[in-house]
């Protein structure tokens, strides 16, 4: 199935998909500079699936934007293995193009030859199980289908690192479950590294090999968990629930600290 999709394997000399070293970020706020991210150090290994977990406003999107190169850190350094692709909570598909043409635009900007684009776009649509939706307009697709096209478009960039910023947060629970299965399958099939941001603890545990908990104000790495539960997992699985409870306790502790100050 979908064997034609290239494996985005690691380049020889690079032992990371992303290397974040001592990164801090502050914004000019109404009361002077506000420190949002404080001394973040994090590696994403080639082919690894890492979820970044934290309360709303803790700086998850800020960190992802920095890794994507959309903004520069105030201090520290970020290195990635090639330009990462980025998926947002909103699908960000271009409404003036069809589903297929959205994917082809990414291919074109990535330098794929004109004659190969159509076939490659169809392959990617098949990968996200949307074969036959090439000519669909964005507004004709459901929320889940839009996110799958957005995923196909992100994969079209052939990046070794896929950054995802709460991509399923706006979907209903049934659709979200299905997309978890799909993402896990596609990650295994393509070998792409994923840095996945969420505020949903169970989602983080359901998907990741490693969960990184971010504290708030400023955002610091509070703790990390390696998730040994074999895939395919389900969000209802007992081991998933168990670990989720442990992580939730820690997360609540982090949040409580702010109430005491």
């Amino acid at each position: 199935m979908a064997t034609a999709v290239a494996k985005a394997g690691p380049a020889e000399s690079v032992e990371y998909a992303a290397r974040i070293e001592h990164v801090s970020k502050s914004f000019a706020g109404p009361v002077g500079r506000q420190l949002v991210l404080d001394d973040i150090t994090l590696d994403v290994a080639p082919g690894e699936f890492v979820t970044l977990l934290g309360a709303s406003g803790c700086g998850k999107s800020t960190l992802l934007n920095l890794v994507a190169g959309l903004d520069d850190p105030s201090s520290g350094s970020i290195k990635t293995d090639g330009r990462p692709s980025l998926m947002f909570q909103e699908h960000a598909l271009f409404p003036w193009l069809t589903a297929g043409k959205n994917i082809e635009l990414a291919l074109k900007l990535g330098g794929v030859a004109k004659n190969d684009r159509r076939e490659r776009a169809e392959e990617l649509l098949t990968l996200v199980r949307l074969q036959g939706s090439y000519d669909k307009r964005v507004h004709e697709l459901s929320g889940g289908m839009r996110q799958r096209v957005a995923l196909a478009r992100a994969l079209a960039q052939e990046s070794r690192l896929l950054l995802m910023d709460e991509p399923f947060a706006a979907l209903d629970a049934i659709t979200r479950d299905v997309l978890h299965d799909e993402l896990t399958r596609i990650w295994a099939e393509t070998g792409v590294s994923v840095l996945f941001v969420t505020h949903n603890v169970r989602e983080a545990v359901r998907l990741a090999q490693r969960v990184v908990l971010l504290s708030s104000r400023p955002g610091r790495i509070a703790r990390e968990w390696t998730v040994e539960i074999p895939q395919p997992r389900r969000i209802e699985d007992a081991p998933v629930a168990e670990l989720s409870i442990e992580i939730t306790e820690q997360l609540r502790g982090e949040i409580r600290r702010h109430g005491q100050q």
């Binding site: 960000a92 003036w96 635009l105 900007l109 199980r129 004709e140 289908m145 049934i174 799909e182 395919p232």
Partner: protein, 306 residues
């Protein structure tokens, strides 16, 4: 399926995994089908009843009232209000003399040429104003202010600058239409969602590539609205110019026809000219701009079906 050399335990997990995959696929297909919105084209009879019939009836009512005013001697002076029949005769005579299409074409040719010229100037101007901060600060306010200046105000200076000729007409059209077109593009570009720009940047669409693949298509609805308004302004400016600057060398366009009607105190001729001006304005909008705008909006799902 599993190849023969795999151990049975491994085959089992693979089997389970591929079963799970199949189930997900089926589930997903079901979800997609449930969310699928059926899009059907409205049949012509419905469009006819909803969109075409009402204006036809309205026109018929106006004609009836008009005729009634004359039949029942409410208005008795034909130099103030000619009968519909008189105006129809005026049209027929102009048609039989072979002049009717000439009047229309003289004005339409000027209007379209002027509009295309305005397009060629207004588009790059809008791009520069939208993208270059200094230019925007310098001429942005003037450009949007110019939209509220009635373009007939440009006719006297244009006559003194260029004389009574076609160039003067084009100058008036340009001064009327260029600000609309440029402003439409500027507001179209301003309204491009930042999310699209960020998505484009992560895909490598920066600089000119970003402008071509993201900014321009995203701003198309605003640009089209500007074009539509630009045409309306072109047409109005042109009529103003033709009425004020009618001269035998310029040929008789619709504005000149109106002015001739006034000089000859011929109410039917004046009505003829007014109807033609209205007709051309509506026809261009109905045949060119509205379909274009509808197509763009519909393809983006921005047009709510009524």
């Amino acid at each position: 399926m599993a190849s023969s050399d795999t151990k049975s335990g491994l085959t089992d997990t693979r089997q389970a995994r591929s079963d799970g995959n199949l189930q997900t696929a089926g589930l997903e297909a079901g979800l997609d089908a449930l969310e699928n919105v059926a899009t059907t084209r409205t049949p012509f009879s419905v469009t006819f009843r909803a969109k075409i019939l009402p204006p036809l009836i309205a026109t018929g009512v106006v004609l009836l009232v008009w005729q009634a005013l004359i039949t029942f001697n409410v208005v008795t002076d034909p130099t103030k209000l000619p009968s519909p029949g008189d105006v129809a005769t005026e049209f027929k005579d102009a048609w039989l003399e072979g002049k009717l299409l000439g009047y229309i074409w003289t004005s339409v040719e000027r209007g379209l040429l002027g509009f295309l010229l305005a397009l060629a100037i207004g588009t790059p101007l809008g791009l520069i104003v939208a993208r270059v901060k200094f230019v925007r600060a310098a001429i942005g306010p003037v450009l949007s202010g110019l939209q509220s200046l009635p373009s007939v105000a440009w006719v006297p200076p244009a006559v003194l600058w260029l004389g009574l000729n076609n160039s003067m007409m084009y100058a008036v059209i340009l001064l009327g239409a260029v600000p609309s077109i440029a402003n439409g593009l500027v507001s179209g570009i301003d309204q491009v969602p930042p999310l699209f720009l960020r998505a484009g940047r992560t895909m490598g669409a920066t600089g000119w590539k970003g402008a071509w693949h993201i900014v321009l298509p995203a701003s198309l609805p605003g640009y089209l609205a500007g074009l539509k308004q630009g045409w309306a302004f072109s047409w109005r400016s042109l009529m103003a110019a033709e009425i004020i600057a009618s001269s035998p060398d310029l040929g008789i366009g619709l504005g000149a026809l109106l002015e001739n009607g006034r000089n000859a105190s011929s109410m039917p001729m004046i009505f003829e000219a007014i109807f033609l001006i209205l007709f051309v304005g509506i026809a261009v909008d109905l045949l060119v701009f509205s379909p274009l705008e509808r197509r763009v909006l519909r393809s983006r799902g921005l047009l709510v079906k009524s």
